[in-house]
Symmetry: none
Subunit: 240 residues, 2 copies
Amino acid sequence: MINKNSPIPLYYQLEEHIKELIEKGDLTPGDALPAEREYAEKYQISRMTVRQAFTHLVNEGYLHRLQGKGTFIAERKIEQPLQWVTSFTEDMKARGLEPGSQLIHFEIIPAASQIAEQLAIQENEPVYEIKRIRLADGVPMALETNYISANLIQGLTEQIVNQSLYAHIEEQLNFRIDRASQVIESAISSQVEAKYLKINKGAPVMLIQQNTYLQNGTPVEFVKSAYRADRYKFMIQMKR
Amino acid sequence: MINKNSPIPLYYQLEEHIKELIEKGDLTPGDALPAEREYAEKYQISRMTVRQAFTHLVNEGYLHRLQGKGTFIAERKIEQPLQWVTSFTEDMKARGLEPGSQLIHFEIIPAASQIAEQLAIQENEPVYEIKRIRLADGVPMALETNYISANLIQGLTEQIVNQSLYAHIEEQLNFRIDRASQVIESAISSQVEAKYLKINKGAPVMLIQQNTYLQNGTPVEFVKSAYRADRYKFMIQMKR
DNA sequence: ATCTAAAATTGGTATAGACAACTATACTTA
DNA sequence: TAAGTATAGTTGTCTATACCAATTTTAGAT
């Protein structure tokens, strides 16, 4: 399992070995790993070397340690989902709700100044404007408007939007979405929002603006959403 | 700079020291740090201990290493990791506003069921209830109520709270705050909130609940805040 | 002045051992 | 029975040392 004559560092060999055990299912979340000293003894390597491997796996989220108790396989479920929740669909699924969508309109318009700025394009360049009611278990949850540069993402259709916009951008166009930023604020619903969300005008809503970027920093999408405050809470986990 | 008699781990002291140098601007992106062996010599600690500090800062994105060349301050790209914005004070400073605080009350009360649940203690166990108006450039920004187990964090005083609660917990009590989760929702201000925030009853507010945990998973603090929607936006960056 | 080889410097890997902090369990004692 | 105590096992911190690998600097030869 561990080859001392290999040029591959021992700590790395051990890392790969443990990852394999996890992926094969020999170790499942919650299981305790053998103690550091046990590994050191078993493979005749130093405990510090074992620790180096463990530490790296902890940083990558595979393991977590409890002083005095042991080292355990991490629950991937709780830590992961909140990291990348830029898609309404995934967000709802993670909450155990059935996501739905109702297209209000889909057209190409000249970019207004605010939109152009967010997408880093010139004013009046063509952009897709896609407005949808987002449903959770069939009930209106949010009113969402996407803006996407028509020059950057070409050939978008209603059908693609109804399936998976992100998958199309990443797989068909071979772009890689890398990061997103969100600005969240609280407000009172407008007439339009109230109508689509089936709430009273003046009821509280949560406004979320999202910018999505490719790996090279190019803005790929700008989204404005209004969520029903009575049905939606935004959740985020931070770790240092 | 490095205190060998302190209960705070040496590597952690060094980490904080280096972070400070970066934040003060003594070290700027691209600068080379003194070599590991130099730090070890200077502070009379082992090189491995210096490496432990460096490694952690590399993982957090503060530094990057190049074998044979040195260790450098990382470029603060847009892709800086999820920021650790659990403190009102730091949040406001990052926004270029002057944070202030006005203590409304500070007392030890028996934990109500909701509070007990969040702090993972028994109902009616003693908890500190600390209610403050948070100011930004002198104007009310939020009404914040902290709940902290009095059995876990002992000897809290008004003075400590007015200075830095987190610093006290970490440095004096040698606890390590490790992660936090926040739940954000939109609502209409209550009578009490309106009064303290100097807004009209019924004006929109953003409610933020925060749980803070130690490294071993123990809940250390539960905070309920009501932010003025007309003055506060919540911002978050995500990267994958 | 230029090239080359050696030395110095830097981070990377690895060892062996010590003690501290924490947890769980078995045992003792009041 | 309940509470305290001893003990063994775990991860956490830290030291001192050694050698390897990549890079830069220096000294020397041409």
